[in-house]
Symmetry: C2
Subunit: 213 residues, 2 copies
């Protein structure tokens, strides 16, 4: 049985839940509360498992894997069907480049520890912090919108979602939480609407998790 | 012939130069100046090639690939020998998780556009900006130091560098530019010293590039 250290609102953990569901893999969740007790990801017990001190962490027997995209690659290598990535190297690269744009150039700028640093250490006001948040979402999603239009199909695997959608849907979930205007991204909204109708995505949604508040 | 859109000091482009050299692949560079003309990565010509507006971009015939880690994966898939990643899925995952920690959780917080936003839009003073920079380097490299100690060999491919070192050495180059104290990371410094003695890394160094200033 796979074990996922997760938090309902962690969008990196949400990516992995989607991927596990798309592959039909059973897993148990261990909740790690990112706010309570000053952030349980900083506890000695958790750091012994994952020195990066971030979520998610997947445990598969003796193997412990940090970083959501490393987990997605591992799942695709160890449980190849159904695939999360296309088989053609050039297309795999397009899909990874879009997923990495979300995972490197949107999400890390807006995650909890960075927002805490902005307000706590730098004294950035709430409104300026929200503008920061929406700025990186806007710059990033505009590029993702362009990238989606260059893919040969509606979804990253033609008619099927995978690696890219596992990153995109959590990012859009976050953007909506912060009231970002997404009307400039019709292609993204079409992909999100389709994915949100699928059980793999529905069951991975934050509000459906055992630790949801 | 492969073409790399690059800037001498872009550490994401530096990663790809290392990977190309490790594989012994010939390539030509097209310089994109990240500061001149308000940043040439924002020009219409470059955005037509790469809507993400970031470096690097690899062009292989009709295939255009953004995002350094997507390029590394593509190179490993299309030119498998010498490999950048170990063959065992669990070990591949460890290596990717460390590389992604650098690529997602250190570098994007400290790259040019973010530092420009901090000083330009948020009015963060120079000293506080440097503290921000060093904070994310410290938090990130401390985790990478722990992760390196869990690898079975001295380097990510035993006695040979690859994917991980292609990310680590540029990150350390950046950290030194900003006078980060790296003495707490002896394992990282050992890896860096070894890699810096190899031609693949020497020839990829920023100061060796045709557009170096």
């Amino acid at each position: 049985m796979l074990t996922l250290y997760s938090y309902w609102r962690s969008s990196a953990a949400y990516r992995v839940r989607i991927a596990l569901n798309l592959k039909g893999l059973a897993y148990q969740q261990v909740p790690v509360h990112l706010v309570k007790d000053g952030g349980q990801q900083h506890s000695a017990d958790y750091l012994a498992l994952n020195p990066q001190g971030l979520l998610p962490l997947l445990v598969d027997g003796k193997t412990k894997i940090a970083q959501s995209l490393a987990i997605l690659e591992y799942l695709d290598e160890t449980h190849p069907q159904p695939a999360l990535l296309p088989s053609d190297p050039a297309l795999r690269a397009q899909v990874r480049a879009l997923a990495l744009h979300i995972a490197c150039d949107i999400h890390p700028l807006n995650n909890l520890r960075v927002l805490q640093y902005l307000s706590g250490t730098l004294g950035v006001e709430s409104e300026a912090k929200d503008t920061w948040y929406r700025h990186w979402v806007d710059v990033g999603l505009a590029a993702v919108e362009q990238g989606l239009m260059r893919l040969p199909g509606r979804l990253s695997l033609g008619e099927r979602p995978g690696y890219l959608e596992a990153c995109l849907i959590p990012q859009v979930y976050n953007a909506r939480r912060f009231n970002c205007d997404l009307n400039a991204y019709p292609r993204i909204l079409d992909v999100v609407a389709h994915c949100e109708s699928l059980d793999a995505f529905k069951n991975a949604a934050p509000e459906e998790q055992p630790d949801a508040q």
